[in-house]
Assembly symmetry: C2
Homo-oligomer: 135 residues x 2
């Protein structure tokens, strides 16, 4: 495991921004800052960071993956029309006060997804969604 400017850039870029970029947005940002990095490496680095639990992936309803540095203590509100992603503090959500009009969003509980590892997969180290070799 070697240090490279590409790994540094992806990690720090995600750590410093709060707007849940796509892989392509990270490449664009790199270009602006004259960092050379290809989309292939961005995807590879992102998947490594996900495996390490440092980054998480949010997929909008048009099947586009957005990435977020893991800071905990917040959940994501995702707009099914414009794709906007908003952070909301945990405590606001998990209480009896929660309702389907939340932070301006119109929500349907069936359209809420809790992602994690199920009982059977808890002990699995490799995640088939980020490490195809485990398939």
């Amino acid at each position: 495991m070697r240090n490279t400017k590409q790994k540094d850039f992806v990690f720090n870029n995600l750590k410093l921004r709060y707007d849940h970029p796509t892989a392509y947005q990270i490449v664009s940002d790199a270009k602006l800052k004259n960092i050379e990095i290809g989309i292939t490496s961005v995807y590879r680095i992102l998947n490594d960071l996900i495996k390490k639990g440092l980054v998480c992936k949010i997929i909008t309803k048009d099947n586009i993956a957005h990435y977020d540095f893991v800071r905990n203590n917040h959940v994501h509100l995702v707009c099914n029309n414009c794709g906007k992603i908003v952070d909301v503090n945990n405590e606001e959500v998990f209480s009896d006060k929660f309702n389907c009009n939340f932070h301006g969003f119109n929500l349907n509980t069936q359209d809420i997804a809790f992602f994690g590892k199920c009982e059977n997969c808890k002990t699995v180290t490799n995640n088939k969604y980020t490490n195809k070799s485990s398939k």
Copy 2:
């Protein structure tokens, strides 16, 4: 808007099953029952049902869409490893009792997504994720 055996099949198939199938699984099921239906039509019919609010779409971390008949009163737990999707009653979730070990799932709040329409998009009829003509 005409009635066809294809529309009937997709609607009733989703209404009767509780296992969140993919579009391809719906086609397989149709074949078993000797209903002729192509994958293209399944996707088109599913997107229409989503626009009508009768069906919702759950995307697992490997970017595969699963479909669910809208019955309300439940949220989805999604396994990031095996892709399993489990229904959990609303009341169990939105209370102070919620924690990150839930129904055997190991959850991270940052990996929880609330999908809906944001303030700006509430009044939009067309949804860009299901109706590309509104782009």
